[in-house]
């Protein structure tokens, strides 16, 4: 596609519910990143894939967060047993190896 596509754009979850956020990167982009942006803050790194390999997951805040990219294209970020502090915008980005990252519009998650 023309850009990085994320779905859904908005998600409201009840506390304790599991959610799955989807990212479609730009076609052919090898690298894929997930960032979390809390209200009034800059994005914070969560995890990084090169093709299907998850090379860095040091930013995932807890074991309730899980990301996958099984075929090296679409990626899913899953959050289990959501809590209020998980409320944020989740940004996905992709890039052609060591070049700039192109960001999607994000998924705004609100946990109530």
């Amino acid at each position: 596609g023309a850009g990085v596509s994320q779905s859904p754009r908005y998600k409201v979850a009840k506390r304790g519910q599991d959610v799955a956020l989807r990212c479609d990167p730009i076609s052919g982009h090898v690298s894929l990143f997930w960032y979390q942006q809390a209200l009034g803050q800059g994005p914070e790194f969560l995890t990084y894939f090169q093709n299907e390999a998850q090379l860095d997951k040091s930013g995932l805040p807890s074991d309730r967060f899980f990301a996958e990219r099984p075929e090296g294209s679409v990626s899913t970020l899953k959050i289990q047993r959501t809590q209020q502090e998980d409320s944020a915008v989740y940004l996905c980005a992709s890039s052609l190896r060591e070049t700039e990252a192109f960001f999607g519009q994000g998924t705004r998650l609100t946990v109530v």
Partner: protein, 111 residues
């Protein structure tokens, strides 16, 4: 550990006036440096980047930034601000695979 400081939370500039947004970083090696812009409800758009070479970098929309290693700074400048430049601006430091962002500077443009 790498870090980025954007000391100004908000800046108001008159339309047509010049702009400088400050960014200071901490990084153990030669950094990859970026400026991104974010409009409300939108993702991040890359304005410019520095990897190596000429320390004055030109970007899109008439923006430029200067890398000053001695000051650990990468300030963003524009000679004449337009009302459409009102947005939030983020400075980030590499490596490209795990960017660290500052907290952002909100630019307000007054008529």
């Amino acid at each position: 550990a790498q870090s980025v400081t954007q000391p100004d939370i908000h800046i108001t500039v008159s339309e047509g006036a010049s702009l400088e947004l400050r960014c200071n970083y901490s990084y153990g090696a030669t950094p990859y440096l970026f400026w991104y812009v974010q409009s409300p409800g939108q993702g991040l758009q890359l304005l410019l980047k520095y990897f190596s070479g000429d320390t004055l970098v030109q970007g899109i929309k008439g923006f430029e930034a200067e890398f000053k290693r001695s000051q650990s700074s990468f300030n963003l400048r524009k000679p004449s601000v337009h009302w459409s430049d009102a947005a939030e601006y983020f400075c980030a430091v590499g490596p490209y695979s795990t960017l660290t962002f500052g907290k952002g500077t909100m630019l307000l443009v007054s008529p």
